[in-house]
Symmetry: C2
Subunit: 109 residues, 2 copies
């Protein structure tokens, strides 16, 4: 067990739970992709999308999209920031690094 810190299990479980729903995975994919494809749309040059555009192609109610984004935010995967009428969302890269480390530790040296 020593390659990992056993105390971190709950933290990782929370993050993976946030990605355990296909709609949330799609939202995450989209946010992660727009860092490259879209031009910066955030208020401070940070790249993000808002709840409305994220829910557009998902075929679920807006209230459900809002709920899913809140879950992603709670886990730390996604940052949200109100700007005017819109809530802008973006992937938090520090959590991505954490997860990359998590799975790198599972690979043989």
């Amino acid at each position: 067990m020593s390659r990992y810190r056993n105390d971190d299990a709950q933290r990782y479980a929370d993050i993976f739970k946030a990605l355990s729903n296909p709609y949330r995975v799609k939202i995450f994919m989209r946010l992660a992709s727009c860092c490259i494809e879209a031009s910066p749309c955030g208020s401070d040059g940070q790249i993000c999308e808002c709840v409305g555009t994220l829910g557009k192609d998902l075929g679920i109610a807006g209230s459900t999209v809002s709920h899913h984004i809140k879950e992603l935010n709670r886990s730390g995967l996604v940052k949200i920031k109100r700007h005017g009428q819109r809530t802008e969302c973006s992937v938090d890269l520090s959590v991505i690094d954490l997860l990359l480390e998590f799975f790198k530790l599972a690979e043989p040296v």
Copy 2:
């Protein structure tokens, strides 16, 4: 959305759901770690642990450990193989590679 294949969302959600429980994360950590720390204990030289040893420090019923391992297996994260009285478990490295790619795509280039 084009850095990712939208159709893969369900597959990823299934894998992350398998890791959305802290006991399953602990089991995964332990299986991932023993590839280095423990000497090979699998029947064919493959490194693994059995249900009993995995559940030892978890403080939950054996039937629950069995259930969690089945979930990990269903998602493809863990291979299981009956050998004698014991069921040997090991991490499937191809899924680890898949997940490393998933999160690498979320990092800016």
